[in-house]
């Protein structure tokens, strides 16, 4: 009777052992358990009851745990890889959150039903991203070289002082840039944004003329954010990229603002077109000012950086 319980216990352990070693390990564990039973029974002067055997097995350990200890891999992501997994996970989730916050804001402004084709719900996207990031790092843990990943160069550390965008800002900008690029290239669509008030809004042909310029601008913007994230030491390069892209943005919008019409609005509201055009013109003007200001600020900081480094040298 008591041996039946031990047989069942060993069979349960065997199921989770690597096949190559299974027989060997089970034989050894059987000997250990039987030696224990014999020693106990000798002490008691009678056979052990089933309850006593059960208690002994509980003491020995959960079959999954016992079998698990023989496995070479004891963790999915170990302590060496964990900090990198965590950093990548935070960055990924911030970018995704930024993307969805923008989508939600667009939806709120538009008031209509938002259908961003090609994008799932925030929850499913987050869960999917969590899975992908974890899988990648589990593979690095298993097949990669965590030592190599931890290698770093002190000279690439960002300066301790000075105005720089925080990682959160950079990731948020990255998220916004991605949404905009996806929308601009037609990968996602916002439909019926103004559907509720019966208006249909389309872009005027002037935007089409600047299509590739705007794509180029977005690529430079994404690139500057990626560089700023991955190589925080390249402060100068990033500043130049921001200056370049801001000038480019201002130039594009200066070209666009020349046009007579920016949007083609059709629908029952007659005055809407004029109001939209006015808003757009004001908006474009502000955007140009922002671009120029951004370029100027970065240029000023570039100069400041130069002065500080000369002063400390």
């Amino acid at each position: 009777m008591t041996h039946d319980l031990i047989d069942r216990y060993l069979a349960a352990i065997a199921r989770d052992l690597p096949e190559r070693e299974r027989t060997d390990i089970v034989a050894e564990l059987r000997d250990e358990l039987m030696s224990g039973v014999e020693a106990r029974e000798e002490g008691l002067g009678r056979p052990m009851t089933e309850a006593e055997t059960g208690a002994m097995l509980v003491e020995f350990g959960n079959p999954l745990v016992v079998a698990g200890r023989y496995r070479k891999t004891q963790h999915l992501i170990g302590p060496q890889v964990f900090p990198f997994w965590w950093a990548a996970m935070k960055a990924t989730l911030v970018v995704i959150a930024a993307v969805y916050v923008i989508l939600i804001v667009v939806k709120l402004i538009g008031g209509g039903a938002l259908s961003a084709n090609g994008l799932g719900s925030p929850i499913s996207t987050m869960v999917f991203a969590f899975g992908v990031v974890t899988l990648v790092f589990a593979l690095i843990e298993r097949f990669g070289d965590p030592q190599k990943m931890a290698r770093w160069r002190p000279e690439r550390l960002p300066p301790a002082e000075g105005k720089r965008a925080s990682r959160f800002e950079l990731l948020t900008e990255l998220g916004m840039g991605i949404v905009f690029l996806l929308w601009w290239t037609g990968a996602i669509h916002f439909r019926d944004v103004f559907g509720d008030i019966g208006l249909q809004v389309e872009m005027a042909p002037v935007w089409q003329r600047f299509f590739w310029w705007i794509v180029a601008y977005l690529v430079v913007e994404l690139a500057s954010n990626v560089v700023a994230l991955l190589r925080p030491d390249r402060v100068q390069l990033v500043r130049w990229m921001v200056i370049w892209r801001s000038m480019m943005g201002a130039a594009i919008l200066l070209g666009v603002i020349q046009a007579e019409r920016f949007l083609i609005v059709s629908g029952p509201a007659g005055k809407a077109q004029a109001i939209f055009e006015l808003w757009m013109r004001v908006g474009l003007g502000i955007a140009i000012a922002v671009f120029v200001a951004r370029a100027a600020i970065e240029a000023w900081r570039l100069r400041q950086d130069g002065l500080t480094s000369r002063a400390s040298a």
């Binding site: 564990l29 000997d31 250990e32």
Partner: protein, 119 residues
Amino acid sequence: MTHSAMPNDADIFETLRLELRRGSLILAVLGQLRGEHYGYTLRKALADAGVEIDEGALYPMLRRLEDQGLLTSEWRVEERRNKRFYRLSEEGRVVLGRLVEEWTRLNASVDAILRGAPK
């Protein structure tokens, strides 16, 4: 209510104790296997010497040490049952020697720190 947020002192001690023991257990096992043992008698011998180790940790450790070439093993029938006997390999002997040196040095250093007057 107030104590629930505090980490349990007993838990903290237990975690630290386990961490402290982990490395020394390997040393004890390798040391004991200068003579031949099978699992059950090895565990008894260690327990008699004052080093308790549970089966769940011992057997996987033996297997790992054998994979690393520090132990050799063979199956033999004894007391009517097939048993796996372990013993230190030649390589294991060399590694144990070096580990003992390290252990002695570390012990002396820690001892000196603990005995020394606090600065």
